[in-house]
């Protein structure tokens, strides 16, 4: 069992939890994820790591309530425990293997969308600690859905975009990217984009025009998360790869996003059925 030592609400339906998981906290690196199970009978849910504290032995996760399993996780409170918390899984971000010398020469543009802002944070923080200042675009539908603005501002240069213009730039993150790159003439060696699949797809289409290397982090469906089931397979550069062991980060210009989005929706119908069944209170025999 893994205790929830802190919980706070970041936005509607988005919660941050700090989990006591000493070994995971000591091994975690930017770019990796964990598999979480709320209780016996719970699904194995892959969640990206939002932060980790090796000394305190805690790992931070940020969860948005989307389906039955994420609702179950978010319903737990401080002091409660998760049945399982396994990780860190996946390969760390490429830059953790680079020397400080190499890193100093590189300019990064991070593009974070919605709950995808959380896994961008440890990357920007890691680079900051290695002497690299990064530009970070954070996008959301509206002001109230923005998360991690304060945290991110401490480690990177934050630029905000909201669809409705309630905060920062009005429009999509791709519009703000164009302002920085084409408008202000900023140069980047690499763009790292984490967010909804559809956003990553359009960010990649934009950076492709600039021939800018772009790394994306895919949130594919998984069962075990350790390379055993193959549920998370994705086509990258014409080859089938497993998100859990080959990723989760890939060269975004090579990812087949349309296939990835279709595969992500594989159990949608069933999940909805399940939810309906659970929420439907049958009165047939109640009288």
């Amino acid at each position: 069992m893994f205790k929830i030592v802190e919980k706070r609400k970041l936005a509607d339906n988005i919660y941050e939890m700090k989990i006591a998981a000493e070994r995971v906290a000591q091994a975690a690196l930017p770019g990796q994820f964990v598999i979480v199970r709320a209780d016996e009978g719970g699904e194995r849910v892959p969640l990206t790591i939002a932060d980790y504290d090796a000394e305190r032995g805690t790992v931070t996760i940020v969860t948005q309530t989307i389906g039955h399993s994420t609702k179950k996780i978010c319903a737990l409170e401080e002091g409660d425990s998760l049945a399982d918390f396994a990780g860190p899984l996946g390969r760390p971000s490429e830059f953790v293997h680079m020397s400080d010398e190499e890193l100093k020469k590189r300019k990064y543009l991070f593009v974070a969308g919605g709950v995808g802002t959380a896994p961008v944070y440890p990357q920007v923080k890691w680079l900051k600690n290695h002497g690299v200042d990064c530009d970070v675009i954070i996008g959301a539908k509206t002001k109230g859905m923005l998360i991690y603005i304060d945290e991110m501002s401490k480690v990177g240069n934050v630029h905000i975009a909201t669809d409705d213009g309630s905060e920062g730039y009005k429009g999509m993150v791709t519009g703000l990217m164009k302002e920085l790159v084409e408008g202000e003439g900023r140069k980047y060696d690499e763009c790292v984009c984490i967010g909804p699949m559809i956003m990553m797809k359009f960010v990649c289409l934009t950076t492709k025009e600039w021939n800018m290397l772009t790394t994306v982090s895919l949130n594919a469906l998984m069962v075990d998360g350790t390379g055993m089931c193959g549920a998370c397979r994705v086509t990258v550069g014409g080859k089938t790869l497993f998100t859990c062991v080959d990723g989760p980060e890939f060269n975004g210009h090579e990812v087949d996003f349309d296939e990835a989005m279709r595969r992500q929706a594989m159990y949608k119908n069933q999940e909805r059925l399940d939810n309906d069944n659970r929420e439907h209170k049958c009165n047939c025999y109640g009288k």
Partner: protein
Amino acid sequence: MANKIPRVPVREQDPVVRATNFEEVCYGYNAEEAALEATRCLNCKNPRCVAACPVNIRIPDFIHHITEGDLRAAADTIHVDSSLPSICGRVCPQESQCEGSCVLGIKGEPVAIGKLERFVGDWALEHSNEAEAPKIEPNGKRVAIVGSGPAGLACASDLAKMGYQVDVFEALHRLGGVLSYGIPEFRLPKERVVAREINEVKKLGVRFETDVIIGRTMTIDSLLDKEGYDAVFVGSGAGLPRFMGIEGENLNGVLSANEFLTRVNLMGAWDPKHSDTPVYVGRKVVVVGGGNVAMDAVRTAKRLGAEAVIVYRRGEAELPARKEEVHHAKEEGIEFRMLTNPTRILGSEDGWVTGINCVEMELGEPDASGRRSPQEKAGSDFTIDCDVVIMALGTSPNPLIASTTSGLNINRRGCIEADEVGTTSRAGVFAGGDAVTGAATVILAMGAGRKAAKAIDEYVRSK
């Protein structure tokens, strides 16, 4: 003198009924049936069954104890060579091992060695509390074991009996490896058999920890250098599922047998009241492959309500699955399309499987390995309509441990290089089971775990 009666039939669940539930197919022998079947053994002077057993269980000896009604002695005899009789009695391919070389099998039916082993194993589990608790003197040495499948369990149990403090690290949330995630309940009951076998290992003082992925949560290097273990045994199992590389394999509705079976067995998707994990079978499922995993997948799909078909590129005689599983599958109404090879998976506009294109095959001349290799029959294309395609084509090794352990060599196929007793290229690291051989059997993994336990003991003593 041996009794010249025919092989005592074993009671099984009715095929029509069992094809709709997950209860165990075979009820096994009761005491009378076992005692009667045991009288058939000729107690050969030169027992070929023992030589044909991968771990050389003293088969005539334990059977003889059954005829005498001394089941404790029968259990003790098996335990000298095997740690998991309840499991191996159920899942070993007896027809190509012990029973396949039984003298009685030449003219008639071999002794039901597997069913007798299972009977003795189950008896021992049921009566384990009456057995004397083993007195073990701790030797102060510690061994870490990676994976709680058959290889790890066998290795852990032997080392614990020698006085080692053994810690087993399991990546998943449940213990047992393939016994839990792979082999279905109807063939290997989880609570009644697997959990109890593991409990026997726990009684020896072995500690188990789930949710630890060696290679990620901790590395083998850190187990040896930082955590201070005297040796490590790697029994991490097979790994990444293979696909065919044909068009349409990433359509929705195409999955590996590993994924399908993990959803159903490990995650409990067969029982939606108690599990949040979904599984989809649609109306008709095609399973590609002919091994035990293919049989498990196709019979599971049938139990979940789908029409279920096996597609295999060689002939029935070449099916690598246990004969009993093929027989049971047929009884349950599974359709077998032999000498059939998929060429393309067809999908709807929105990306869901609608069918699978196949060609008929014929067996050509024997190749270098002596097996007749299948060749396509020209112009024999046809389509099987289906909603789900499950690929049961074996696995290739998971690179996680090899890539994070310094000085650990892997072979051409990506498996960990190890000798007969599990010694690897890295001092203090031993390996066995599927991680070394590629996908094989429970008994081979169990045997490898036991050999490695001996080698580990010698290594630690000589340090």
